[in-house]
Point group: C2
Chain length 197, copies 2
């Protein structure tokens, strides 16, 4: 006999599909759902389906949006575009309230091993935006890994003829950490990108 | 401006209601839902509503059940009843494949501080089952805390006149742990309940 009756087993299975959720955690979530009132479950389900129904991508930058154009593209005039891999990277940067420009979401990075080439990500859409002329700086904020670096290099090369400054986020020792415990690659990058004080 | 557009913020908020889920984790779950296909989301939602629609409690033991009587009550004849606080405790014990008897879920424990008395939990239902006569042992498996212990004592006293053996799960040092790191209460119980070897 199964430990769970079918509807509970099914829900445990569904929750297990969420990132980082094992059987035990999925079980706790399932029990919580059972304990919820009908109204609470209705709200939960409505939020899940609502996201699927209402979230689309901004026609300009590719970020999450409810309308054709996202709130950032609609409200900001800027000569700086920050290029990121995924919409969630926009949220991570917006949280800082540091960057006041606009974004361009690639929806992926160049990764030949996975069969992802420049035409599979939103590179030509970026070029089209740049050709309109008023952009002065492109900040490439792809992840500091092989495919993120390759994508940054590719974009930099592509943009060069347009006379636009291309920058990349600095690599180095995380603030608050210790040199002793910084991994070799990061420490090497920190040396290479060392600054005058 | 909010970092999230409304439907995403709403879903993050709903996921935050699950036990042990903070904003960061809720965000990861929300992104996962956005990445799911329509079909996957449909299955997820169906599992959530299905649990609410199809899970009720067994009329006999109070465990989760799809029908009037749960699979355990339907398939087992036993002279031993294991009394637990919640349906999820049944799942935890069933996983062991050790106990072959039936269960009785109290749906709570006596907790005067929280205003929960013996009439607020399924004690009289237990008595009704015992009065039918073929039960020889009641194993009280409530949690080893103040209200769990109080509930066990209360049930033991109530059952005494019926000439049924009442037992309680053993307390002691967890297998594989060390005496040095065992908390004082547990270590004391291990002394009190020491066994001849």
């Amino acid at each position: 006999m199964d430990i769970f009756i079918e509807p509970i087993g099914k829900l445990v299975n569904e929750f297990s599909k969420l990132p980082g959720v094992g059987k035990k955690t999925a079980q706790r979530y399932a029990y919580k759902i059972i304990d919820m009132s009908d109204e609470e479950v209705r709200e939960f389900v409505e939020a899940v389906t609502g996201v699927k129904r209402r979230v689309r991508y901004c026609e300009i930058c590719g970020n999450f949006s409810e309308e054709k154009t996202c709130g950032i593209c609609k409200s900001r005039e800027s000569d700086a575009i920050c290029v990121v891999k995924e919409p969630k990277d926009v949220a991570a940067i917006e949280k800082l309230h540091e960057f006041k420009g606009v974004y361009h979401v690639l929806h992926g990075v160049i990764d030949p091993m996975a069969g992802v080439g420049p035409n599979d990500i939103r590179v030509k859409e970026l070029l089209a935006r740049l050709q309109k002329g008023n952009v002065k700086e492109v900040i490439v904020a792809t992840n500091p890994d092989v495919s993120g670096d390759a994508t940054a290099m590719y974009i930099a090369k592509l943009i060069k003829p347009l006379d636009i400054t291309v920058t990349r986020l600095a690599h180095g020792i995380p603030v608050g950490s210790e040199i002793e415990y910084t991994d070799d690659v990061t420490l090497t990058r920190a040396f290479v990108e060392r600054n005058k004080i």
